[in-house]
């Protein structure tokens, strides 16, 4: 199960934070700080998996943003790496060559996309096309 998803830039600013387990606000800030520190200093030659407290963090860097997923120890790391990539592809498609600024100004839309992709800490839909279509339908209603 995914415990939380974080999108952070190199400076440590959190652009997206979605938690699937309850945490106090102060806890959340601490977690975001720690994960950022863990992830930003890693050599690109190293693996994309880091142990974090009693779980592990699967992360990948896309341009200036770190996409971090915190999962259970027993989960399949390679699969989650693929899901990070799928998410980035969806964002890319939705925003047409997404950049960090898109994510800042349209953060509510990013959350909506995320909610179509992952729910209750598990993958909901694996087809990029399906998610984009759905977002289109929802936009029309707005």
């Amino acid at each position: 199960m995914i415990r939380f998803i974080l999108l952070q830039n190199r400076q440590g600013k959190t652009r997206l934070a979605k938690y699937y387990t309850p945490l106090e606000e102060s806890e959340k800030h601490k977690v975001e700080y720690e994960v950022h520190r863990l992830v930003v200093n890693r050599d690109p030659k190293f693996t994309n998996f880091v142990e974090f407290r009693t779980h592990k963090v699967i992360y990948r860097r896309y341009a200036g943003l770190f996409f971090s997923l915190c999962v259970d120890i027993t989960d399949n790391e390679l699969a989650y790496l693929e899901s990070i990539h799928l998410f980035v592809e969806i964002l890319d498609h939705f925003f047409s060559n997404v950049c960090e600024l898109d994510l800042v100004f349209n953060f509510h839309k990013v959350y909506l996309i995320l909610d179509e992709f992952i729910l209750a800490g598990e993958l909901q839909e694996t087809s990029k096309k399906a998610i984009i279509e759905r977002m289109g339908e929802l936009e029309k209603l707005d």
Partner: protein
């Protein structure tokens, strides 16, 4: 419009915040915005509620407190329009979590929305529920969600499925209600619904055994078919990732199959084909394929035994290991550690690749590879593996050196086939990374060195060479200085040269040079320099020609600020100058340190603790000559570092001697298998457990080989033939012996009547002697066995002074009655009988075992025979 409102839409607000140059500026802008939002809230402003919440969410993301907005979320959710609901639910998920009581207020709204006609709104509600519902909400709304699992629209069905996962995690009792609808989901065609359905079933199995059974019975065939169709499906652009159709679904299916196959052979059988197909046909050049293969391997490893599949799995892991992608190697090493417990042979084949990984640049890969290598070591590969590791030690990172050193030392100690190899490897390690070597390791090394009398010359010469090259390694210096002190004359005289050695000539002066350099080096600590002083004293006796020079060096330290050095210097100086006569006696060659005792002591203070039931035996010298000057004893008193019970009484020592002895796992060739403290203790006491490695001969502690003459002689002394009673090995010379007998705890009087009958056994047989044991038990006391031992003489000579002794491990108590006579007539014409009583405190769990020793005189010659009796009938 509200006069506090500065920005028309929230895009402007974001721009404004981003334009702030300092944190203080940002705080000011945020404060203003919050104020205007609060004002709008209190006025119940309908029009901009939507926008205000969006702003609030952004402010929340920046890290500011936004509690005042929580009620706004509720109001928005309660609004009829879709956009309001949408932002309301979003705000709800962002600003609240399940622990807030405010959440309860939403339950009713959510319930209504779950029943809405607009499927998008249903979707919103399900989403919110799935992400943050609490246990009470879960219970309240479960029926709605159950109904929605069969909704017409697949989007709703898949959301309902994931929502159910959360519900059953929060309230596991509800799981039973969902079994049937969940099973129905497995027949779906829509990938999204199928994926979520599979996930739901997996989580249900974790929570409810009923569900697990149900799925196992009914659904496996269906699942196998789905996976097969998926694996064989043609190109599907919608779900394609790197040429594979929907790898996520593959992986989820494999995981569910794993849950169902674990622990059930029949279920595992049905999956074998598809697992083999996935394992062999999946492309592994991209991450997606590898992810599937990884999951497949994990499944194969978890389900019930199938040799062919396991081999396939290990081969895949082997391939992973040689991949250039770090992630793949990491994942493979992880899995291999699990695989090794299932099929160590298969993993051995990949030893070379794993060794390569130990040298990897990524620290986490190195660590895992090293652990894996450690698990793979056995007698046949220990030499080559150790060589590789020691070679790598030279070039490894300093942070890694500590781990690596510890593992190498451990491997060398456990598996060393012969002493010379052990010494070689340890000296190499010491010269490379001596500072990482722990104290107990080099103490053990010294014990081994003293026991290898034929290698003394070789060792000291090797040390001399190494010290020239690696003078900063403190541990190396310590060992070297000690050895040079002990075996200095062998060094100089080139004694005991082995074929493999290069010739070298070292003068007495050279030897003294080494010690002098060491003592002068200020970077070395007190212990080392103190050792140097002793070594110098020894050398002054062994090399009389250098005595003056040595005295000068010692004199130099008379004024040392360090008390220990000063004291030693003064004492030694005094010995050299004024007590010439006793000097050589003082610094005689150290007697051999007993390996078994050392390992016993190292295992923890078992000597002191356990011997209480056997009374306090008087101190018996353990063969160590106690010289007049204290430092020599300190050096030898290796236990002072670790155990709190230093000079344990000699009697305890002997108990240990035998206690250690009886464990088959306690020896390996001539080296002890040394595991961690408690493990050794358990091994010592567990008789009959199969040794972890195939041990060669059990080291016979009492055998006169190995230069243990002293202890043997001592035991002979103790076997006072005049008092044949109480030969249980609590050595005592006089009356305390009787006390020992009394202190023997609960050993009830031997019953004469036979309880249950046990067959008599031939306990011991050699060419000259045969011993038979017959057993009887008192029915009221199953723990105690009475044994009648009968000794028969197989040779044509009479045996006189016949003494039988026996020893038992600590969970047994032994009592020996006097023998019928001391003389055993020849050729079996007569026999001696002796009664024994054994109490088994682990009756039922451990069977009896005993070590025996028979001494007698034949033709004016003393003969000693020893053996171990393992063939006691079970149940004694």
């Amino acid at each position: 419009m509200n006069e506090f409102q500065n920005h028309n839409n929230f895009m402007d607000m974001i721009r404004a915040i981003r334009a702030c140059k300092t944190a203080a500026e940002e705080r000011a802008v945020v404060r203003k915005e919050c104020a205007s939002i609060r004002a709008a809230i209190s006025e119940n402003d309908q029009d901009y509620r939507h926008r205000n919440l969006a702003k609030l969410m952004f402010i929340h993301m920046l890290g500011y407190p936004t509690h005042f907005g929580q009620m706004e979320c509720l109001k928005l959710i309660a609004s009829p329009g879709f956009p309001e609901k949408r932002i309301g639910y979003l705000g709800l998920m962002l600003l609240l979590d399940e622990r807030q009581e405010v959440l309860m207020l939403v339950t009713n709204s959510i319930k209504q929305d779950l029943n809405h006609t607009n499927q998008y709104i249903v979707g919103l509600a399900l989403c919110a529920l799935g992400n943050i519902c609490s246990a009470e909400m879960a219970r309240d709304l479960a029926p709605e969600v159950e109904r929605l699992l069969q909704f017409r629209d697949p989007n709703v069905r898949k959301k309902a499925a994931l929502c159910t996962i959360r519900i059953i995690k929060k309230v596991p009792d509800l799981a039973e209600n969902f079994i049937n609808p969940a099973a129905a989901l497995l027949k779906e065609k829509h990938h999204g619904v199928l994926l979520t359905g599979v996930q739901l079933c997996t989580d249900m199995c974790k929570v409810s055994t009923e569900a697990l059974e149900y799925f196992r019975q009914k659904c496996i065939d269906g699942l196998v078919k789905v996976l097969k169709d998926l694996a064989n499906s043609p190109y599907a652009p919608e779900y394609d990732v790197s040429g594979i159709a929907d790898p996520f679904l593959h992986i989820r299916l494999l995981r569910l199959l794993r849950m169902l196959g674990q622990g059930d052979a029949e279920a595992s059988d049905t999956m074998n084909d598809i697992l083999a197909q996935v394992a062999t046909k999946t492309e592994s050049n991209k991450n997606a394929g590898n992810a599937i293969l990884y999951e497949c391997v994990a499944t194969i490893m978890s389900i019930e035994e199938n040799g062919g599949l396991r081999v396939l799995a290990v081969n895949i892991l082997g391939r992973f290991l040689s991949s250039r992608d770090n992630n793949i190697r990491y994942v493979a090493l992880n899995m291999l550690m699990k695989a090794i417990s299932l099929d160590s042979q298969a993993v051995q084949r990949h030893r070379a690749t794993i060794l390569e990984c130990v040298k990897d640049s990524d620290a986490s890969i190195r660590k895992r590879a090293l652990e894996l290598v450690y698990l793979l070591v056995n007698e046949s590969n220990v030499k080559s593996l150790t060589k590789e590791l020691v070679d790598y030690l030279e070039i490894s990172d300093p942070e890694f050196k500590g781990d690596l050193t510890a593992k190498i030392c451990s491997i060398v100690e456990k598996f060393s086939p012969e002493k010379i190899w052990y010494i070689d490897q340890m000296l190499k390690v010491l010269s490379e990374a001596g500072n990482n070597v722990k104290d107990e390791v080099w103490h053990a090394l010294i014990v081994v060195i003293t026991n290898a009398s034929n290698l003394h010359g070789y060792t000291v010469r090797l040390l001399y060479k190494y010290v020239q090259a690696a003078g900063e390694q403190e541990t190396l210096i310590r060992v070297a200085v000690w050895c040079i002190g002990e075996y200095g004359e062998m060094l100089v005289a080139n004694a005991g040269v082995l074929d493999i050695e290069d010739p070298m000539t070292i003068t007495e002066a050279d030897a003294v040079d080494v010690v002098e350099t060491a003592i002068k080096r200020h970077s070395l600590d007190l212990t080392t320099r103190a050792m140097c002083l002793i070594a110098l004293l020894k050398l002054s006796s062994r090399f009389p020609s250098c005595s003056k020079r040595i005295n000068d060096i010692i004199l130099h330290h008379k004024g040392s600020f360090v008390l220990e050095l000063q004291q030693r210097a003064i004492e030694f100086n005094s010995i050299i100058e004024k007590h010439e006569k006793i000097r050589s006696a003082l610094v005689e060659r150290m007697p051999v340190l007993d390996e078994a005792t050392f390992s016993g002591r190292r295992a923890g203070s078992i000597p002191a603790a356990v011997s209480t039931s056997h009374g306090a035996a008087p101190k018996v010298p353990n063969g160590v000559v106690k010289p007049a000057s204290a430092p020599l004893v300190d050096l030898l008193d290796l236990s002072s570092d670790d155990t709190p019970a230093p000079s344990s009484s000699g009697g305890d020592f002997l108990q240990d001697l035998l206690g250690v002895d009886l464990s088959p796992a306690s020896s390996q060739g001539t080296n002890q298998a040394q595991k961690s403290g408690t493990d050794v203790l358990l091994d010592l006491l567990s008789i009959g457990t199969p040794p972890a490695q195939s041990s060669s001969s059990t080291l016979d502690m009492l055998s006169p080989s190995q230069g243990n003459k002293k202890s043997v002689d001592m035991l002979n002394d103790l076997a006072s033939p005049s008092a044949p009673s109480a030969q249980a090995f609590s050595p005592a010379k006089n009356s305390p012996m009787m006390d020992l007998l009394d202190g023997f705890g609960p050993s009830p009087p031997a019953p004469e009547t036979n309880g249950s009958t046990y067959p008599s056994v031939v306990a011991f047989e050699s060419t000259s002697l045969k011993i038979t044991f017959s057993f009887s038990k008192d029915p009221g006391n199953p723990q105690t066995t009475s044994i009648e031992a009968q000794f028969a003489n197989k040779s044509p000579n009479i045996y006189s002074n016949f003494v039988f002794q026996s020893a038992v491990p600590k969970f047994l108590q032994l009592h020996l009655d006097p023998a019928s006579s001391n003389t055993l007539p020849a050729s079996g014409t007569g026999s001696i009988t002796q009664k024994l009583r054994v109490s088994n405190s682990q009756h039922g769990k451990k069977s009896l075992v005993m070590r025996i020793r028979i001494s007698y005189k034949v033709n004016e010659k003393d003969v000693l025979e020893e053996g171990q009796i393992n063939n006691f009938p079970r149940g004694l």
